[in-house]
Structures are given as structure tokens and as C-alpha cells.
């Protein structure tokens, strides 16, 4: 038996992710993968797993998980007050956990998404070389969205040396996001451009792995519609007729017809994974 993690409670949204599915975007398949790639990468480094090993992405309200076998795990990313058998867990560091232990999460101290990794080999369904579920194809990889009672199968490997990594900075207060000009920036009303780069924006509650919406609309008239649909990539910021910008993320659609005002610098894209509704940000043009 390879059952290693039993999900007693799934939490708000806990999802299995790996490096995703680059290469099928011509067919409309989103790239997928962790929103905070730094945290997932660091996790597999600490555990000495291959970099495309699945991790569990945990959003705000974390799950309760019973550990079924002795193993080594680690947690990176947001600080969601993780505990094992009631004792606080050291993050950014491999820890030994005994069979029968219970992993819980509590209040959100910093960030939005924590990542849980296990030292070992996952035995989990794949579709097109990835475990990342696709929002518009719910019939596949349902196992990757954790649900109550589910057991995740992982073969634990021998423990690695305990080593602590420097914690990633989580957003606190106002975040500055570096962007480059989007393909349609010059078609926007100057008032809209002034608002986009001049104002402080707030993340709307209507935000998820497909995209983050900003709460307030930009002033000025929207660019004349009727742009032919064109490629979208994670980090593209498009502005629909409502005027409220949308930052597209890992699960976004691959083509769209709204004008693209800016493109998030790749290095700053991971910050969105740690922003939550109500957080504020400003854009700076590189």
C-alpha cells in the first residue's frame, strides 16, 4: 500500500500541481502549475525531489491531513500557521513526521498560498504529462482537487539532510509589481494609462487561479473593441469593456480579444500567488 496522506478536510481549495503543461497552448490548454513557482521550486529543492514533482497548493484556509506512514515533508510559501499534532511546524525546512500524525493549518499570518511537499515519488493520475487540473475540463484529474476522505499515494524515499532555506518574502502592505508595456498599450485612453500606472489598485474578491481582477475600473473610454483574438500568457493584463483590469494567471485561457495594457515581469508574477482579495498594489513600468 502506498497511501501516505489522508485528507480529513480539504480546506478552502487545495490542489495538486506540478510544472504544468507547456506545449499544448495551441489547442487552448492553459499552462497550469503553481501560482508561486518560487515556493514550489524551493520545496522540491529542499526535499531533493525532481523539480517537476507534484506539490499541494493550499489557499488561505488549509486542510487537515493525517500522515499514514513515516515520511519527510516541508512547507514553503504563505504562513498559514501549520502544526503537526498541535505543535508549530518549522517552515522552509524538511521535517520528519511519524505515521499517525495530524497536519493542520490555522490563521493566515502572511501570504495567500502555502505549498506542501513530500520527499518521495507520487503515484497520481496524469493527463498529457501533468497532474495540473484544467478548470474547463472537470472530467479529467478530479483527483488533483483535494476532497474529504481522499488518500494520496506517495512512495516515501529515504530522508534528506535537514537544511533550512531563507524564507521567501510575502507581500506586506503595498506591493510594487514591475510590468512591461502590453501590445495594445498605445490604444488606451491617456486617462486609463494614467490610472493604471498612477493609482493604487485593490485585488477584487472575484480572483482565482485563472486571473486576478482589480476592484476599480480605469477612467477613460475603453479602446475600440473588435480586436481579433490573440495569444494570452500568464502575466498578461487585459482590460475588458468594464474597465477593471484582469491579470491572467496559470489557468487562464490562451486566447482573448480584450486589449492588453501591460505584461507582468516574469520575476514578479509569483507575487500574485501570495496576494489575496483586498490587498493593494501599484504597477511600475520597466
Amino acid at each position: 500500500m502506498t497511501g501516505l496522506l489522508r485528507i480529513d478536510r480539504p480546506g478552502l481549495f487545495s490542489v495538486v500541481q506540478d510544472a504544468g503543461r507547456a506545449g499544448m497552448q495551441y489547442a487552448g490548454i492553459p499552462v497550469g502549475g503553481p501560482l508561486d513557482r518560487r515556493a514550489a521550486r524551493l520545496l522540491n529543492e529542499l526535499l531533493q525531489n525532481p523539480e517537476d514533482t507534484p506539490v499541494i497548493e493550499i489557499t488561505l484556509a488549509g486542510p487537515q491531513i493525517t500522515i499514514l506512514k513515516d515520511c519527510q515533508l516541508a512547507i514553503c510559501g504563505a504562513d498559514l500557521s501549520p502544526t503537526v499534532n498541535g505543535e508549530a511546524v518549522e517552515m522552509y525546512c524538511p521535517i520528519e513526521v511519524a505515521a499517525g500524525s495530524i497536519l493542520r493549518f490555522g490563521s493566515v499570518r502572511a501570504g495567500c498560498r502555502a505549498y506542501l511537499g513530500v520527499r518521495g515519488v507520487w503515484i497520481h493520475p496524469h493527463w498529457m504529462q501533468s497532474v495540473a487540473p484544467i478548470p474547463s475540463m472537470p472530467e479529467i484529474l478530479a483527483e488533483s482537487i483535494l476532497r474529504r476522505g481522499q488518500v494520496l499515494h506517495i512512495l516515501p524515499l529515504s530522508s534528506v539532510l535537514k537544511r533550512k532555506a531563507a524564507p521567501l518574502a510575502m507581500p506586506a502592505g503595498l506591493s510594487e509589481i514591475r510590468v512591461m508595456e502590453g501590445p495594445e498599450l498605445d490604444t488606451f485612453d491617456p486617462l486609463a494609462v494614467a490610472d493604471f500606472f498612477g493609482k493604487t489598485h485593490t485585488i477584487s474578491a472575484a480572483s482565482n487561479r485563472m486571473g486576478y481582477r482589480l476592484h476599480d475600473s480605469l477612467r477613460g473610454t475603453a479602446p475600440s473593441a473588435s480586436m481579433l483574438s490573440s495569444g494570452l500568457i500568464p502575466g498578461t493584463i487585459q482590460v475588458p469593456p468594464s474597465g477593471a483590469p484582469i491579470i491572467l494567471l496559470a489557468d487562464a485561457q490562451t486566447v482573448g480579444g480584450y486589449p492588453r495594457i501591460a505584461q507582468v515581469a516574469d520575476e514578479d508574477l509569483d507575487i500574485f500567488g501570495q496576494l489575496k482579495p483586498g490587498d493593494s498594489l501599484r504597477f511600475r513600468l520597466l
Binding site: 506545449g23 489547442a27 487552448g28 479529467i140 500568457i233 485561457q253 482573448g256 505584461q263
Partner: protein, 233 residues
Amino acid sequence: MNPFSASFRIRSYGDRALLLSWEERIDYDVNRAVQSLFHILESNPFPGYLYSIPAYCTLTVVFNHRKTNGYAVEQHLLALHGSEKTKSCADTWRTLRIPVCYDSAFAPDIQDVAQQKGISVEEVIQLHTSMAYRVFMLGFLPGFPYMGRLPEGLYIARKDTPRLKVPAGSVGLAGWQTGIYPSASPGGWQLIGQTPWRIVSPEKEVPFLFQPGDQVQFFSITPGQFADMQVHR
């Protein structure tokens, strides 16, 4: 215009992609130029190539910016565009014949479309099945084919208010385009029929019925045939 010599503009699209744009219109030759460069790039990738997205008149090329840079990618693309190989791979050379039931039970907007265009429902069906369309691109939903160009008599705006749920297999019209919803989803296209065929079959090695560059010819079936084909698909 010779599609293979059509010129495009290259712009940077953030720090890890380039956007190649041809003349902005729904046009067979423009789209052939996009797709031929897409295919040749897929079979002749550069170090650090991640993926690309061919659309109507643009190609988005995404790369690993730790392994290469925009300038090197641009040089690679220009060399590919100039090469002889580019000339042979714009089309899949397939024509797919797709059954569609245009019966009102499967076509909630067909009366409306006929009324707006001042023609009969039969004429809508006759026009829609009168020619083969090109699959210009896939997107919006996985495997959703954007096809066209529609004959003059079928040009129609999207619905003012999108439907919350469009059934899988629905065949719709929007502007000069016609498309098929692979799965149930919200959508604003004018629905004039439904195909019993599956557009996406995740269990198959090639899960998508359509590829960019396919030709698609619709033919009309009865509700009885629809039921038969759905059972036997």
C-alpha cells in the same frame, strides 16, 4: 498575396515572449502564414523554446528567458521564415465532415438569426452548409475551433447577454466566425445547431477533433440521426 512572403511585425510581449503580428483581418492567407510559421517552429525549435499560440493573425512565441533572449529568438524566427521549409506546412489537408442538427430543439437562436438576416430558417441552414470553413485557431475553451469566414448572409453580432450555460456540441455564430462548444460553458454566440460528435475526448491520444488548418464542412441531420450518432460516437 503570397501567404509565405507576407510580412509580419515582431514586438516584445513582456520579458519571455515575442508577439508576431500580420495584417489584422480574418483572412485565409494571413492565417496560413501564421500557421506555417507555427508548424515550422514546432519542428525546428530553438534552445529555450517553451510554446507558442497561433491565432487569426498573430503568433505568440514564449521562451525561457534564463536560457535565451528576445533578440536570439527573433533571429531564429526570421531565419525560419526565410527558409524553404516554411512553404509546405500551412494546412493539414484534411476536410472534416461534421453532422449538425439544426432542428429548433437544438438551435435556440436559429429563428432569431433568420429574422435578423431577413431569410428563412432553411436558408440559414443552406448557407451554413454551403461551404467548407477553415479552422483559424483553437482556444477560449480547450479544443474550441474558431472557423470562418462565414458567407455574407450569416454575419451576425454576438448575443447582448451571454447564456450562463451553452450545451456541449452547440454550433454558434459570432461576427464572421462559426464555432463549436466542446464542453458546457457560458457563452455569447448565436446557437444555430448542435453536433452529436465529441469535440474533445480526453482519453484519446489526440484528444482534440480539430487542428488549426483543418477544413470543416457541416451537413444537416435530423433529430433521429442525432440520437443515433450520439449513441454510437
